[in-house]
């Protein structure tokens, strides 16, 4: 380890952005210096807008239009003299791309040419860089492709090479992309959020594969991720970025065990997977125990019909006590969203029953607008993407007030302007939004603020049950943590009952009282959170729990004496004040 493979020094990158009729340059990255040793993994960690992806793009020489390296150097030390990628002519960088530096992209779904076979995509680097005499002719290229596909763990590589991307699952596509990246045994692999579009169990296997290949090829990996737990588990060194600047950098253990800056401490405290928190204990059986508020039985949902029918939900049953949170956990295709929408009375399942209190949710049947509307005052849905769920043309006040306008005064609605404004103001206050957002449009708000608006809109007609469909999944950890806190306090104050749909077991650990684990439409395990998370009975639940990234040395142990939730929250708020 004499000298590093990559040395970034004082890097500054700016983008040209439109402002009015002209353009301005906005700095995205400023004064970032990094070192990546041979065979090492360096994780670039940061929230959205931290500049982590921009740094990756600068290194690989693929900044989007309008992006420009303003200052600094990106030295790559290959055999012989180092080259500065920031100053090299475009042609020379192009020569290095794919051969010495390779990319594992973020979204395997859209990163493979849909009209090319997997084999053709994997062969691309071999065909582009023809100077390597080993793979000049068709046959040797084909053999190499099959060898690579086999190496990344695709079954039946001969057949896979002839298939098209849409015939493969997300995890398989990412494996193919990794095969293409390592085709020419690059010195540096830039992995830009390589698993954030994948299910947790797949994420673990892909990261394992990257680790293995790194060991085999002796390549260095620049791992760009928003997930501190992934970085903690996989990286030798971690660099924390914040708003385009380097917050701190160092060996992973040092950074995570003894963060030097308050910002890193907050990130660490907010990362659900790294939180030192026990599942909620099972509640003592209250007077209502015999009659849970929500009762779902024999739920079946089929898409299509006849021979093409596909069972998205297969005989699922669970019950939720009043005032508690029930988590539906599963990976993509597990049917969790379908169940949530059925409970929220947004579509009718093929079979089964859903009851809220003494009401039959399915009684009114049919499409969203034909059913008996009165059920909507009982149950509301908050969806994953608050931007999509807010009408872009209507102000926040209009959005939050709309549910009230849908009902007559006798049904709890409000038509009077002044009264409506007062209710909206109260609702904003309830979700801790300043009063002045009322007259703004959704696009003028941040993601976290929009999600607060969506929550306020759901709560304004005072429902008893709220279905939260991946409601915090798209948010940065700190914002995610704040929204979870908000949800917890609203539950305490209003006695709400939540159906919390998520793929993230770490979040479940924090918020759920009871859990149903779903796999391919069927419930594999259901029960109290404490029981399911600490003593899982089904192997799939165990696999899911294992897949939650977090290195052993950071994992909370049962022996730790746990701080109370309130203590933790207080410590947390102090941290945030310090950062802000």
């Amino acid at each position: 380890m004499t000298e590093p493979l990559l040395r970034v020094d004082g890097l500054a990158v700016s983008y040209r952005t439109r402002q009015g009729s002209g353009h301005v340059r906005r700095t995205a990255v400023e004064g970032v210096s990094l070192e990546l040793g041979r065979g090492e993994v360096l994780a670039l960690v940061g929230e959205s807008g931290s500049g982590k992806t921009t740094i990756g793009q600068s290194i690989i020489g693929l900044l989007p239009e309008g992006g420009r390296v303003e200052a600094g150097s990106i030295e790559l030390h290959l055999a012989g003299r180092p080259v500065d990628l920031a100053k090299l002519p475009a042609r020379a960088v192009q020569e290095l791309r794919g051969r010495r530096i390779a990319l594992v992209p973020q979204d395997p779904g859209s990163s493979l040419n849909p009209v090319q076979t997997i084999g053709a995509s994997v062969a691309a680097p071999l065909r582009i860089h023809r100077e390597d005499a080993r793979w000049r002719d068709r046959d040797s290229i084909r053999r190499r492709v099959v060898e690579l596909l086999d190496r990344v763990g695709l079954d039946d590589p001969e057949r896979r090479a002839g298939q098209y991307p849409h015939e493969l699952s997300g995890g398989m596509r990412q494996r193919a992309l990794i095969a293409a990246a390592i085709a020419l045994e690059p010195d540096l692999i830039v992995a830009d959020e390589p698993t954030s579009a994948l299910d947790v169990t797949v994420q673990r296997r892909i990261l394992d594969l990257l680790d293995e290949l790194r060991g085999e090829l002796g390549s260095s990996v620049l791992l760009i991720t928003h997930d501190l737990a992934v970085a903690a588990e996989r990286a030798d060194r971690i660099a924390v970025l914040r708003q385009g600047a380097l917050e701190e950098a160092g060996p992973a253990r040092e950074v995570l065990r003894a963060p030097a800056t308050a910002y890193t401490r907050t990130l660490l405290a907010d990362a659900p997977a790294l939180q030192d928190v026990a599942p909620r204990p099972a509640r003592a059986a209250g007077p209502n125990a015999a009659a849970p508020l929500v009762r779902v039985e024999g739920l079946v949902h089929e898409y299509g019909h006849g021979r093409d029918a596909f069972r998205a939900v297969d005989d699922v049953a669970f019950a939720i006590e009043r005032g508690t949170t029930h988590a539906l956990v599963g990976e993509s295709g597990s049917g969790k969203t379908t169940i949530g929408r059925a409970v929220a009375a947004l579509h009718a399942p093929t079979a089964g029953s859903i009851r809220i209190g003494d009401r039959d949710v399915l009684a009114a049947g049919g499409s969203p607008w034909r059913r008996d509307r009165s059920i909507r005052r009982l149950v509301q849905l908050v969806s994953q993407n608050p931007y999509a769920s807010l009408d872009p043309r209507r102000t926040i006040a209009q959005a939050i007030g709309e549910p009230l306008r849908n009902w007559g005064p006798a049904e709890g609605g409000v038509r009077d302007r002044a009264a409506l404004a007062r209710r909206v103001a109260t609702a904003l206050d309830q979700v801790a939004l300043p009063a002045d957002v009322a007259h703004r449009l959704p696009r003028e708000l941040s993601g976290g603020q929009r999600q607060r608006v969506a929550i306020a809109r759901a709560l304004i007609i005072e429902p008893e049950v709220v279905v939260l469909d991946e409601a915090v999944s798209a948010l940065d950890v700190t914002v995610q943590s704040q929204i979870l806190e908000l949800l917890e306090s609203l539950q305490r104050d209003l006695g709400l009952t939540y159906l919390f749909i998520t793929h993230d077991l770490a979040v479940v650990r924090r918020i759920a009282d009871s859990v149903t684990v779903l796999r391919r439409g069927a419930a594999v395990e259901t029960g109290a959170a404490e029981r399911v998370l600490l003593a899982p009975e089904h192997e799939y639940t165990r696999a899911l729990l294992d897949a939650v990234p977090a290195p052993e040395w950071l994992r909370p142990t049962p022996a730790d004496d746990r701080r109370s939730v309130d203590d933790r929250r207080a410590a947390h708020d102090d941290l945030r004040l310090e950062v802000a």
Partner: protein, 284 residues
């Protein structure tokens, strides 16, 4: 392919280019051109003192000059006066055409998109049929049915655009209807009509408006084409297409007779298209 010097730099800039807005200055010019054309249509006598119908035989076929900026035609009529007075026919025709397409097409499209089911299937099959007949042939069929004349030509052009309006407005309504915010609106207890009025129509009609502006330009073109073929206004009405058709016999000697009216038509159509693009950008 040697003319295409394929540089990575060019390709690198491509992604963001798709969304790049057009320069503002051209929009200002376009609005000015349309404003002038509209002024010509409503107040033609303000812009010329010449008679568009009766000519001065002694001044026949004069090249453009200070007295006759666009020159004169074979019967000594001032060409600029004919173009200015023709604006009314052409723009009114285009307006009628757009109105027919917009009202009938959008009504069909919104009906299909918001009700769905069998109604949607039926409407869309009718649209398929309307689209299957090439536009000009459909317009000609309608003209044969209604008879020649500038209004009938306009209606015929409008009929040909019904299918386009219907298809666009349906797809917009369907897009909005599938959006999360419409589901949220139903989810909070909104009735069908309330959701339609609050969310679906405001969010889907922007694109329809942009299409209307675009159709205004193509309607001017189509009406002038029908006029040129002789199915629009009868001579000596000043109508842009007819104007050019009448001048064809003098193409060897009097270039201005065809060239200048054509430039005016192209300028107005181009301006309408630019405004359409601006509306699309603003409502997207």
């Amino acid at each position: 392919m040697s003319a295409l010097t394929l540089l990575p730099a060019g390709a690198a800039e491509a992604p963001a280019r798709a969304a790049r807005p057009k320069p503002r200055a051209t929009l200002v010019v376009a609005v000015l051109v349309l404003a002038v054309a509209l002024a010509w249509a409503f107040l033609p006598w303000l812009f010329t003192s010449q008679d568009p119908i009766a000519g001065v035989a002694a001044e026949a076929l004069q090249a453009p000059s200070a007295a006759h900026p666009f020159g004169t035609d074979a019967t000594g009529r001032d060409l600029l006066a004919r173009v200015i007075f023709g604006a009314g026919n052409s723009l009114a025709g285009a307006a009628i055409a757009v109105l027919v397409g917009l009202v009938v097409g959008t009504a069909l499209g919104v009906l299909a998109g918001s009700v769905g089911g069998l109604v949607e299937d039926a409407v869309m099959r009718v649209v398929d049929v309307l689209l299957a007949i090439p536009g000009l042939l459909l317009a000609l069929s309608v003209i044969v049915l209604l008879g020649f004349g500038v209004t009938n030509a306009a209606i015929a052009v409008g009929v040909t655009s019904i299918a386009v309006f219907a298809r666009l407005s349906r797809s917009q309504v369907v897009r909005v209807r599938r959006s999360d915010y419409v589901e949220a609106a139903f989810g909070s207890g909104g009735t069908f009509l309330a959701v339609l009025g609050r969310h679906v129509l405001p969010n889907s009609l922007g694109a329809v408006l942009a299409l209307a502006a675009l159709q205004f330009g193509s309607a001017i073109l189509a009406i002038s084409t029908l006029g040129f073929l002789g199915y629009g206004a009868p001579p000596p009405t000043p109508e842009w297409g007819l104007l050019i058709a009448e001048s064809r016999d003098y193409v060897a000697t009097s270039w201005w007779l065809t060239t200048l009216p054509g430039v005016v038509v192209a300028a107005v159509v181009l301006a309408a298209n630019r405004v359409a693009a601006a509306i699309r950008e603003a409502t997207a």
